[in-house]
Amino acid sequence: MTAHFLQIENLARRFPQPGSKEPTTVFEGVNFSIEKGEFVCIIGHSGCGKSTILNVLAGLDHPSDGNVIMDGKVIEGPSRDQGVIFQNHSLLPWLSTLHNVTFAVRARWPNWSRAKIREHSVNYLEMVGLGEVLNRKPAQLSGGMRQRVGIARAFAIEPKLLLMDEPFGALDALTRGVIQEELLKIWARTHQTVFMITHDVDESVLLADRVLLMTNGPNARVAESVIVDIPRPRERATLHEQPGYYPVRNHLVEFLVRRAKTLASAARDTDPRHTPRTVNPVKPDTFPPRPALVRSG
């Protein structure tokens, strides 16, 4: 019925509320899809359930409603097909940089020889520029280096879907910029399918093929799917010179500042499936807005 690589159907998550029989609905009616090799960012204000969606995709959380279908199979639990990079690196502090990666690689390919596991791991660590610090423990690395180990570990197991939960949220702006470029490089080489949460509009414009915008919670949903129509390879230094940069950026900022809130209450009744509207701010005429959303927005 569908040819999408990853299909999220009518996803909802409700949490029981203390002192009330009515559960809180964090998000509901979330529908979107991701193609193979696509880099998709999701942005929304705190509390809209981005992390919960990511955890559901990772199989670490279960939806109250709806399905996630990846490569024709329903995701029911965590697996090696979904790699996760958490916000706080989550390296094992008693293992060295290299062993943090080999640990994951050995779990992924148990039949590989020791030498092959090492070579594969070193290769990915060199891709993020950590070839020199293989034997250091995470505590002896800077915050940025730790996060890079996490990236190398996640890419090294070559998951079908790579999930990143604000991977650079804890880093300072300068380090973040450097690692974003490294992420772009490693992604260009591997063409990994990526789903990433971010709070940073510029980060999403730099990295993503498409940005999903969420309305505010509770009862949040994915309102728009914004195409980032900027050619690759992109570079941080020249990104703002691209003709598509400001239209996309302004569209995202405008949504987050104004419409995330107003849309949260409106339009819920008009479209039961809440299919996100596809927008291309660079070529606004490509996807004409649907009447229902024009009325409410």
Binding site: A58, G59, L60, G77, P78, S79, R80, Q82, G83, V84, F86, N88, S90, L92, P93, W94, F103, A104, A107, R108, K137, A139, I157
Partner: protein
Amino acid sequence: MLANLNLRAAIISITFLIVTLGLWQLATAPEALIGAGELSEYELLMGGASQPSGIPAPSQVFSHAVDELSRPFYDAGPNDKGIGLQLAYSVGRVMAGFGLAVLVAIPLGFVIGMSPVLNKAFNPYIQVLKPISPLAWMPLALFIIKDSNTSAIFVIFICSIWPMLINTAFGVAAVRNDWLNVARTLELSKLRTAFTVILPAAAPTILTGMRISVGIAWLVIVAAEMLVGGTGIGYYVWNEWNNLDLASVIFAILMIGIVGMLLDGMLVQASRFVRYQD
């Protein structure tokens, strides 16, 4: 600066030792040295014969220690064994009881730590059994086991199990969710997760429990051996008390302290291997 700090600490430490030993020597000196006074009424009654059984001076203890330590492993019958031999008996019992406790407490602590249900289920028993003085088990142990040596080992076992059990369960339950999620997304089996993620993560906490346990075990063995008799440093102390040989008693007290320190030091060394910086 560090050398300076060490030097100052050493000076204070040595001064303290000299002053303490000096006061001790003075306080226990024969009265003739302090200035012979009149004999008290009690001493008159005793014919002035109470001196030899008084508190020995540090010099006496020292010469006794040199004598004992020059032949630590002699064995001249049940009531006359070298201090090394007695300590070896005690350490052997502690190791046996402690080792058994490790074998029980760590796997059990793992299971309890991993399962909130079992944690709740076992907690009342642990809380009741933990504060029982290990020596209170002694009569029961002697009656059931009918062997004084095994009973002493049992008492060591029962007193060292609790800190290890509680610390292991706590350490395992407190393993960070992030690390467990890493294991889950890598689809590690339960057993591999336990050995490659939970065990190293909880190891420092477990080692702390082991340190507390071995400390308690060494405290308890002295008392237990006073009860069961026969061999061991506890029996030696009690025996020398019965002989009113206080120089031996003081010497034994010092040796108990030193061996206890070494036992703790060994576990401190072990904990260096498992320590990690977060």
